[in-house]
Each structure stands twice: as C-alpha cells, then as structure tokens.
C-alpha cells in the first residue's frame, strides 16, 4: 500500500525512487510564493499536502489565491518561488508528467467553436495518448447528461452544459488527480447532484479530488479536508469535522412560545437573546450542556410550541476566519 503523507519528502529524489520505495504523496507544496508583475502577492509561503484518495477543498473569497494555486499546478501560471510536487514529479521541471496525471476543470467557461461534443472528447482523449476511448466517452456523456447533445457544436451549448463538457474533458483520460475550480458555477441543482455523484464515484475508484467552491454547504458535505485561504495565506487547514469543532462546539437552541416567559432569570446561566415579535428565545450552549439547558428551560414554566437547534456550519467557520461579521 502506498504511504500517502511523508513528512520527510526529499525533493532531490527522482519520482522513480518514490515509486520503487512505495513512497509518494499526491501533492506537496512547500513555501510556495506567487507575485504577479504588478507586485500583487497572490500566494505567500503556502505549505500543504494532499493525500492520495482524499477529497480536498480549497476555500476562500474571490481573489484569495485559490485559482492561482490551481493554475500553478496545471502550468497556466508560473510560480515565483517554492517547491511543488505532484505524485513525485516536480512543477514545472517535469510538467509533461504532471499534466498526464491531472485533469483540470478551469473556472472560466470555454468551448470550441468548430467541433461537436463527441469530437471534442475524442480529441481530448488523443491529446493524452488514448487512441480508442469511445466507451468511456459514452459513459461520461451519459453520466453528465450530455449524451443527447453529443452531436451539437460545443460553443452552442448553454452555460451549464459547457461546464459539464469541461468536466467531461477533465475526466476523459481518467486522471489520478482531478482538479475542479468552481465546477458547479452556473449548473442547476439536479445536475450539481449528478456531478457530485460522479465525483464521489471517481474518488471511490481512487481518484484524488482537489476542488474550489463558493458553496460551503457542498464543501462541508463532500470534502475530507479543507484549506481556507485568504489574501494568499492559509488561514486553516484541517479535516472538515475538526474545522467545524474549532469554534468551540457551540449550538443555538431557539424556543418558540405561545406566551413569552417572564421568569427569564431561570436561564441566566446561559447567553440568550429574545425576539418579542416571534415570541422566541435563542439560547447559546455547548454540546455537553444539553441536560442543564433542558432543565433550565423547564423552569421557565411555559410550554414551547416549537424548537430548533442550529449547529455551527462551515460557513460560520469561514466567516470567522476571514473576518466577515
């Protein structure tokens, strides 16, 4: 079995060394910097590792540096300094080897103006050295609900369909690493669900997934680990569940009453807020204080009409880290 996260990764070793020793990780980035020509620092001293077979989320607001990081991996942007290694191959020195094992769905919509979807995917297979890929192309077209449109010129497709075609192009050579930069932008809910199903299937088959998304709910549901990045710096990098715990396991209980309780001193041990219009009380508590809070709520001597529990979401973590109120 391949060991995934090796702390003592040596950049002087050849990829063959790692394959022979059974030692390689999917992505290693060390002290990566990118400064554009106008002195804008897009990435600052980025250190991260992506393990084989995981779904890794890269989150951040617009201009955070997510796309720059992805574009460095796939050769669209040159790094200023630092070390980047994909499955043991160094970027950019061994860029052809790197490109063979990654598939990229770029953020910007683009589509060819001359060829049909089927032709585009056949060419894409050929670029990766695959001569006869019709069976897999058909599987992708059906999985992404593009099969009925396979003879249409790619440029004439709607935005959502263009996005799906870009996803199909990125997957057509069965890449070891699939990089998805905002893959669901402009795609409707039904197709978003089918796209994530396909991504999960590929992941189960061993494909490592690196994705950026603005949809934090999606990231929370699908990602094994998440890196939150802002202004070129990593703010957090952890397993998704650990990030969610980071704000202290705080929960919010909202109680709705027919008549507002008057003896609010009964819940003085907790922080709470009142909404007199809704006749509701919101009580903030930690996970281990459930019994205590229920006991004190009983002391209010009013029957609650409804109850809602709100847990911290990734969105709360994200807002907290990037300083959005």
């Amino acid at each position: 079995m391949i060991q995934c996260a090796i702390k003592s990764f040596e950049f002087n070793a050849t990829p063959q060394d790692y394959v022979e020793k059974g030692l390689y990780m999917t992505l290693t980035i060390k002290k990566l910097n990118k400064v554009y020509g106008n002195d804008f620092t897009a990435l600052h001293e980025i250190d991260l590792e992506v393990n084989e077979g995981e779904i890794f989320g890269l989150l951040g607001p617009n201009g955070a540096g997510k796309s720059t990081l992805i574009n460095i991996l796939c050769g669209i942007v040159r790094k200023s300094s630092g070390e980047v290694s994909v499955c043991g191959f160094q970027v950019p020195e061994q860029h052809i080897d790197v490109k063979k094992i990654i598939g990229v769905v770029p953020q910007e919509l683009c589509a060819d103006g001359f060829f049909s979807i089927q032709q585009v995917l056949e060419y894409q297979s050929g670029y990766y050295g695959i001569k006869n890929n019709l069976e897999y192309i058909e599987y992708l077209l059906k999985s992404l609900s593009l099969y009925d449109k396979k003879d249409e010129i790619a440029r004439h497709l709607s935005g959502g369909m263009k996005r799906r075609l870009m996803v199909a192009k990125a997957m057509v050579h069965k890449p070891k690493i699939l990089i998805l930069d905002e893959p669901t932008a402009g795609v409707d809910i039904h197709l978003t669900v089918s796209l994530w199903e396909l991504v999960k299937t590929l992941n189960k088959q061993g494909t490592t997934i690196i994705l950026t998304t603005h949809n934090l709910k999606e990231a929370e549901e699908i990602c094994d680990r998440i890196c939150i990045i802002n202004k070129g710096n990593i703010l957090a990098l952890d397993k998704t569940e650990n990030l969610l715990k980071r704000l202290g396991d705080t929960k919010l209980m909202c109680l709705f009453f027919k008549d507002m309780p008057t003896n609010l001193e009964a819940i003085d041990d907790f922080k709470y807020s009142l909404n007199k219009n809704e006749k509701s009380i919101s009580i903030s508590y930690s996970g281990h204080e459930v019994s205590k809070v229920m006991h004190q709520v009983n002391s209010l001597n009013q029957v609650a009409m409804d109850l809602k529990i709100k847990e911290d979401s990734l969105e709360d973590v994200f807002k907290h880290l990037i300083g959005v109120a």
Binding site: I76, I96, C110
Partner: protein, 254 residues
C-alpha cells in the same frame, strides 16, 4: 516525440478545423487567385508580352501560387490561435501533456497542409488556361514546403503575439500584404528603377517568389542558391521563435 498520439491528434484537429470550413479556407483563396489571373493576366496576354522568356500568364502563376500559400499558411496558424484566445481554449494548450516541439510541429504541419492545398489547386486550375513549364518538379516541391513552413511558423508567432484581431489585421494588411505585393508577384524586379529594386532586395518574399519561378520557369532574377539560403534561414529563425514562444509561455503564462 514523447506523445506521438497527442501530436497527431492536435495535427488532426487543426486540419479538421480548416477542412470543416473548406469553402472559406480553401476555395475562397482559389477564387481570389483566379480573379487576379483574369484581371492582370488576360489583358497582358492580348499584348503577347514576355517576361524572362515566357508568357506573362506563365510568369504570373508561380507568383499567385506563392501569394495563396503565404496567406493561407500564415492565416491558418495565426487565426487558430487567435480564435482560441477568444473562446478561452488557448489556456487548454498549456494544460495538455504535449511538448512545445510537438505543438509547434502540429500547428505548422496543419497550416502547411492548407497552404499546399491552396497552392496546388491554384496551379492545377491555372494549367487549364495557361501553358506553364514545370522545369524542376522536386525543387517546386521543396520551395513550396519551405515557404509554407516558414509562414506557418510565423503565423504561430503572430497568433500568440497579437492581443486582438485589430493587431492581427495590422500585421496582415500593413506588413504581410505589402511584402507579398511588392515581392514581385505581378512583375519582375528587373523592371523596377534602381532605388525600388534595392528596396525590394530586403523583402524576403521576393526570394521566395523568385525561387519558385526558377523552379517552374528555369530562370530567375536572383541566384537560386541565395534564395534557398534565405528560405532555410527564415525557417530556422521562425521555428526557433515559435518553439521559444510555447516553451517560455510568452503571452500565454502569467
């Protein structure tokens, strides 16, 4: 080549691209060349004038072939890259596991194909109307290959360099077209006065047209060795430039 299938696929795609719009890319240039032949050639035929020992129409055909080949080989690679810029697919070129050498060769060979087809169609069609001597067929083929390759390579450079279609139009209308028209498509430089003759000598297209005329007619204004040396030099320079552009990511990578 490391990725032969990838190279062949890119070549096929570029070829399929111009073949899918063949009326625009192959037959329209042919019609243009034949119109030039009719407009400039037919009145001169009545005057039974001769240049370098052959009829004016026979003199004109290699020039028209050259004009068609230069325009179309240049436009194929340059417009393909320009269109890629506008559709956003140019960045995909950077992501493909195809080396800079393979990319240059694929774009060049596809563009050469278009130029050669236009040149061949122009010759075959003209042969119905004009008696054209074929003095040295191997040399005709070699000159056509070298001319098409050099302008295919220069088209790559132009396609990457130009920011928009305006800049490409400037290159086409203010540099390429004057070079072709002043390169002796319609006349022999021996008919020019001293100053214009000297100015013509710095125009590389003159040597290309002259080399092709030599191959067809067996006589020319300039030594064939000089013309061929210049053709080879232009190919080497333009290949190096096109390869460097892809290799360095000039105007493609940020």
């Amino acid at each position: 080549m490391n990725n032969l299938v990838g190279f062949l696929t890119l070549f096929k795609k570029e070829t399929d691209r111009y073949m899918s719009v063949a009326i625009q890319t192959l037959f329209a240039p042919l019609v243009s060349s034949l119109l030039y032949l009719a407009i400039f050639g037919l009145p001169m035929r009545e005057m039974s004038s001769q240049i370098v020992g052959v009829s004016y129409l026979a003199f004109l055909v290699p020039g028209l072939m050259m004009m068609g080949m230069i325009n179309n080989s240049f436009q194929n690679s340059s417009s393909s890259l320009m269109i890629s810029k506008y559709t956003g697919t140019v960045s995909e070129l950077l992501v493909l596991p195809i080396s800079s050498f393979e990319k240059v060769m694929a774009y060049t060979l596809a563009a050469m194909g278009r130029g050669l087809i236009v040149g061949f169609l122009t010759l075959v069609t003209a042969m119905f109307f004009v008696d054209i001597p074929l003095n040295n067929i191997p040399l005709i083929i070699i000159v056509c290959l070298l001319v098409n390759s050099s302008f295919s390579l220069l088209g790559i450079c132009a396609g990457i360099w130009a920011k928009n279609f305006d800049q490409m139009a400037i290159l086409n209308q203010f540099i390429l077209m004057p070079m072709i028209f002043l390169g002796g498509v319609f006349y022999s430089i021996k008919n020019l006065s001293g100053l214009f003759q000297k100015l013509s000598m710095v125009n590389p297209v003159l040597y290309m047209i002259d080399a092709l005329r030599y191959a067809f007619l067996g006589s020319s204004d300039i030594s064939i060795f000089v013309s061929m040396s210049i053709l080879v030099a232009i190919n080497l320079i333009s290949f190096t430039a096109a390869w460097w552009i892809f290799h360095s990511g000039y105007k493609l990578q940020s």
